[in-house]
């Protein structure tokens, strides 16, 4: 067992070296990243449970709602949640919403990231959320879609638990004869 574990560690080390090699300007601490990911997974589990609890407590949710969740020091909105139906839970700081669009805005008001989700719960304290069902994240020329999604706005982190699908556009420069 120890040999197998050691083999795994060597493999991970090789991965890290492969990722970092040739990119000295982008040092990457894989073990720190993995530890941080474990924290996100725990937070995702908390929010998944919170989502179920919110569903049980739903009582005449408001319609066509727009909620600023996070703001910049200047007062400009940084994270806003729009939904066809939504309900606030003042005791827990949770917002449940259905047919949701979450926008993360730059200080100038332009959209940095957009999340479209069928149904979700957002924690106003941690600025993180859980999406039940399908969701799609668009950030620049990269889109990420899937089912059962956790996201953290402050850490710009998304975890897709089922059917992940990422598409990234890039510019390819190639020689074409005239």
């Amino acid at each position: 067992m120890q040999g197998r574990q050691a083999g795994k560690e060597v493999k991970y080390l090789a991965i890290v070296l492969a990722i970092v090699a040739g990119s000295a300007a982008h040092a990457f601490d894989f073990s720190a990243w993995s530890a941080q990911r474990d924290l996100h997974l725990r937070e995702a589990e908390r929010l998944r449970t919170a989502y179920s609890n919110c569903l049980q407590r739903l009582d005449h949710p408001a319609e066509d709602v727009s909620v600023p969740v996070e703001t910049y020091a200047s007062g400009a909105v940084r994270l806003v949640v729009q939904a066809r139906r939504a309900q606030f839970f003042l005791d827990s700081g949770l917002v449940w919403a259905e047919n949701v669009v979450v926008r993360r805005l730059a200080p100038d008001g332009s959209v940095e990231t957009r999340i479209d989700a069928r149904s979700c719960v957002v924690d106003r304290f941690t600025k993180s959320g859980w999406v039940e069902g399908t969701a799609r994240v668009q950030h620049g020329k990269t889109s990420l879609a899937g089912n059962s999604v956790y996201f953290s706005s402050p850490e710009s982190y998304v975890r897709i638990f089922e059917k992940a699908d990422l598409q990234s556009e890039g510019v390819k420069v190639k020689e074409v004869g005239l």
């Binding site: 991965i15 492969a18 990420l144 992940a164 990422l166 890039g170 020689e175 005239l178």
Partner: protein, 180 residues
């Protein structure tokens, strides 16, 4: 014993680049181009699907796990147990690292290995065998069939050069392999 053997193969990794006879490979950073050529920008899409994924924009990292499939601009597909995608500052996929049961398919050419990397800017794929285990393997089932194994196999999408470490090469009479 791990001296690098640079094997220049007429083992083109792009179907439309396959010549009818063996030729000296181009340097990877100097792909074939005519005098009247000029650079033209085009959009290419990389798509990665998997059972689950983590996308960490702050760290510039995405991790895909379970039945991972990478499709790059119709040029190749890569399957693996787990894939790490390193994003550029402009949020494009810059590098892909595939781990576990890796297969790479390009037209009639199929590669298999325990780990592989793809560097998008250099359009370079590098395959690694297991330490003390199975070597990386590249099989061309096209017009000029050939088979190649090594501890490390590196090739470029836009060039005909293949670099192999600790290699074993098998080709047909039509293969036209040139070793340096």
């Amino acid at each position: 014993m791990t001296a690098l053997l640079s094997a220049m193969l007429a083992f083109s990794l792009l179907g439309d680049m396959a010549p009818s006879t063996a030729k000296t490979a181009k340097a990877p950073d100097a792909p074939k181009a005519s005098k009247a050529s000029q650079p033209v920008a085009a959009t290419e899409v990389t798509r990665i699907r998997s059972d689950s994924a983590d996308y960490d924009r702050a760290a510039g990292m995405a991790v895909f796990e379970g039945h991972v499939c990478v499709e790059h601009a119709g040029e190749y597909t890569m399957n693996a147990d787990r894939i790490y995608a390193v994003m550029t500052s402009s949020n494009e996929i810059g590098r892909v690292v595939a781990v576990g049961g890796v297969t790479i398919t390009n037209a009639a050419r199929v590669g298999s290995c325990s780990m592989a990397t793809f560097r998008r800017a250099k359009r370079e794929i590098e395959m690694f065998g297991e330490a003390g285990g199975a070597q990386a393997r590249l099989v061309d089932g096209g017009e000029r069939p050939g088979e190649l194994e090594g501890d490390r196999i590196k090739f470029w999408l836009d060039a005909e050069q293949v670099e192999v470490e600790n290699s074993r090469i098998t080709t047909s009479e039509k293969g036209g392999v040139e070793l340096l």
